[in-house]
Amino acid sequence: MTLKTTPFHARTAPLCVSQAWRRWAGHVVASSYEMVHEREYHAIRSSAALFDVSPLYKYSITGKDAERLLDRVVTRNVAKQKIGQVLYTPWCDADGKIIDDGTVSRLAEREFRLTSADPNIRWLHLNAAGLDVRIADVTEPLAALSLQGPNAREILTQAVEGDVASLKFFRLTQGSVRGTPIGISRTGYTGDLGYELWMDAAKALPVWDAIMGAGEAYGIVPCGMLALDMARIEAGLMLLEVDYVSAHHALIERQKSSPFEMNLAWTVDLAKPWFVGQGALRAEVDRGVEWKFVGLDIDWNALERLYDAVRLPPKLPLAAWRVSVPIFAFGRQVGYATSGCWSPLLKKYIALAHVPARFAALGTELEMEVTVEHFRRRALARVVKTPFFDPERKRA
């Protein structure tokens, strides 16, 4: 067995001088192209970054009951979704625990595309019983690129034939690049101005070339997963199997999370006719949500003091971490952080953490464990609003 490569591999492989690859859904993708991922990170926030996101799972859902199927599965209201609109949404099991999260794009009245982090074909079929709907896994035939950053619009406008300029946040349109039709959605995983491009895998390379060509004068940088991980933390966006465990993978009940526990209350439409997990989620609201997913800002002065005690300057990892780190209140562990990174842009050490609801109010002072020269210490960490970084250009 070998890992699969993406439709862009012929382009990404020679660019990946670091040879730092990682697995994503059975494919190899670049962790970083350059030896150090710092410039790739800054490109996301300062100019433009191009990601190969082809390994995303993608499903085409068509037919008379396509809307009904999706409305049954996801927590948001698909009946209200306009053609050309994209919804970010989680979906739950019958207990109201998240299975996965992704986007639903309404391409036509009876045509949708669902993206996800994990395979979901079985779940979709299970819920399609009795419905007139066709579900196709288009993960392989559909290549995907993500162009993110302040210059993304300028670059796309030049590289693509289509109405990019007026495309609104979480809307999609059709265009073409050198004769190849592509779907363009104003979406992404960076919390910045950005677009995702969807195209026939067999015709993917000319699209890459066109974007890179047009991007050259605008500081485009091919960008790997290390930089993306930092940007998504700054954007306060959660990641499956890192920040939460899929209800389909969890071995014990407490590994699971509900949308409310993941700061996703805004995605749950309890008022719509019916969806999987609705009853459980209603009950959870009545009972009160026990856990919250919050942003933490770890106090630099506290870090400096801890390191000063061993006569060192504070030393933080250059890349994001994805391990469970204890969070304390009043000297006792009350929760755990699941992702964190130094934000070079914000000049802050930030983390995403699960804490009991009573510790989730903005401004709450908690402590996070930090390992200083092999010894476990605690540093002041304040609950702050997410996204940590939320530029106006994202929606403008």
């Binding site: 800054h42 300062s46 605008y218 500081g219 990892p317």
Partner: protein, 526 residues
């Protein structure tokens, strides 16, 4: 009745703005008066040619204090420091020396020149790390007066002594050498590769009137490592939008904290009555009153021009008169139609995104100094070059580029004085010197701006065009900056404070003086 301010800050340079922001943060009613139409002083971004933006004078952010970035929440106000990670030094023989963001890359590159130096480099780095760590707190410290018996001075001195003792013998001795030796001699103890020593020592002579073989030029070698200590914090690099965006972000923070900033409001005089500063007089004749007046201008401008010797003790006046400026550097800003191609590494490559140092040998840099010693600009100057449009494409129209060339030496007191012809001759010398290593440069220049020390003085007000508001020489540092007894941001005139780079810890876009001065003011008016 005119409004009375708690404080008026003269000069909207970065230190003045930092000072105003901290005073406003403490609830003071602050007015900043800036003579030019824009804030920033020497940290300004200007569109000199249509579509081409330049960090006109100061071009990199060095050691901007992390506490200032945090306290004033500068990222929220637009500060974004981008990495400037490599250095390329083209050599006379067609080879080059480079340092890269990746340690293995840099080591392999050094090994090409000297395997011994490649090993020494890491050990040298470790020693410098220790010294930088010991010395760094000085940047955030109001200089104690070593001759004073004031308990606060004694306490600070004791703390400082503790830091130094913590170094251990080997490092302490190295520190002493670093403070007294020339960069050339100090580096000779470590390395054999001439071009490596030339490039390292060249960074130590920036803005001074010293050559790499002049005693006292070694200690600036530490600065680089002070930057490295910040680790992920990275307060060293290229500001997106140019250095003007640093000033704008501080101004944004100051305004948000309640400070008022007036541009086109040059101050001509500090109002003094009964030995106390009472306010300022603007070029327009307008008088503005304040409890406290803070000057971000250099010591000579502040005391000799705005205050006047008649209001100062004779001894202090003499000290200020003796305070040395001797601007030694020029700036050339080029708008380019395409990228330069270096003979040693032709075409495009990551080396163009970093610094390019024209310091091919120790003799080259020392010879550049020889010209200056004798009152001429260097026929073949040391140059620190960047192409900011490759780091932030917004600096130039798509596909075009801007090049920033820091030039040393160009003495303020050039023989015969600066004339238009001499300015262009300097510009030609710079382009010719660069063309030896990047021959296509002459064909790609769309526009050229040459700024001599006299131009720098005229535009920014920096006396003799000294980029640090007074030479950063050992006899003008710490408790001697700008004058003994007045290094703590205060002055002989009650209510008049100093907050510019002419005070400790001095130049570079550091902001430390502005912050420490604000703390001194708040201490006096608690």
């Amino acid at each position: 009745m005119a409004t009375t301010w708690d404080a008026i800050v003269i000069g909207g340079g970065h230190n003045g703005l930092v000072n105003a922001a901290y005073l406003a943060r403490a609830g003071r009613k602050v007015l900043v008066c800036e003579r030019r139409p824009r804030v920033g002083g020497a940290a300004v971004t200007e569109e000199i040619f249509p579509g081409f933006k330049f960090s006109m004078f100061s071009y990199v952010v060095s050691l901007l204090r992390p506490e200032i970035i945090r306290d004033l929440e500068l990222p929220k106000h637009g500060l974004h420091i981008l990495p400037l990670e490599s250095t390329l030094t083209p050599m006379e023989n067609g080879d080059y020396l480079a340092s890269w963001p990746d340690h293995d890359d840099t080591r392999r590159e050094l090994m090409r020149h000297s395997p011994r130096d490649a090993e020494a480099y890491d050990e040298y780095g470790r020693l410098m790390h220790h010294m930088a760590h010991a010395v760094r707190p000085i940047l955030a410290m109001t200089p104690p007066d070593p001759t004073s018996l004031d308990p606060r001075d004694l306490l600070t001195l004791a703390k400082l002594g503790g830091h130094m003792r913590g170094l251990g013998a080997e490092q302490f001795h190295a520190l002493f050498k670093l403070m007294t030796m020339s960069a050339a001699d100090f580096l000779d103890e470590w390395f054999e590769t001439d071009v490596l020593k030339a490039t390292k020592s060249a960074s130590g002579i920036i803005g001074t009137f010293l050559g790499p073989r002049s005693p006292g030029s070694a200690y600036v070698l530490l600065h680089h490592y002070m930057g490295e200590l910040d680790g992920v914090f990275r307060a060293w690099g290229f500001a997106k939008g140019g250095t003007g965006s640093v000033s704008e972000s501080i101004a944004g923070a100051a305004r948000r904290l309640g400070a008022t900033i007036r541009t086109d409001a040059g101050v001509t005089k500090v109002l003094i009555a009964d030995g106390r500063a009472r306010g300022v007089v603007l070029e327009s004749g307008e008088e503005i009153l304040a409890r406290t007046v803070v000057s971000g201008l250099d010591p000579r401008r502040t005391f000799m021009e705005l205050v006047g010797e008649e209001a100062l003790p004779e001894e202090f006046s003499a000290d200020i008169r003796r305070f040395k400026f001797r601007g030694s550097s020029a700036k050339v800003n080029l708008a380019l139609d395409a990228l330069p191609s270096f003979t040693c590494l032709p075409g495009f490559g990551p080396h163009l995104r970093g610094a390019m140092s024209i310091s091919p040998s120790m003799d080259y840099v020392e010879r550049a100094y020889d010209d200056a010693k004798h009152g001429e600009f260097s026929r073949q100057p040391y140059m620190d070059i960047e192409i900011p449009s490759l780091i932030d494409p917004g600096m130039a129209p798509p596909g075009k580029h801007v090049m920033s060339i820091f030039v040393q030496y160009a003495p303020y007191a050039v023989r015969g004085g600066w004339t238009d012809a001499k300015r262009e001759a300097l510009g030609d010398a710079v382009v010719n010197a660069l063309a030896r290593f990047a021959p296509n440069i002459k064909d790609i220049i769309l526009h050229r701006q040459v700024l001599t020390p006299l131009d720098i003085e005229r535009i920014t007000g920096l006396t003799e065009g000294n980029i640090f508001s007074g030479e950063l020489a050992l006899h003008q540092l710490f408790f001697l900056r700008p004058a003994p007894g007045y290094a703590k941001y205060r002055s002989p005139v009650k209510g008049l404070y100093q907050c510019g780079s002419g005070t400790h810890p001095g130049g570079g876009i550091m902001g430390a003086s502005g912050r420490l001065a604000a703390m001194a003011i708040l201490e006096d008016h608690a």
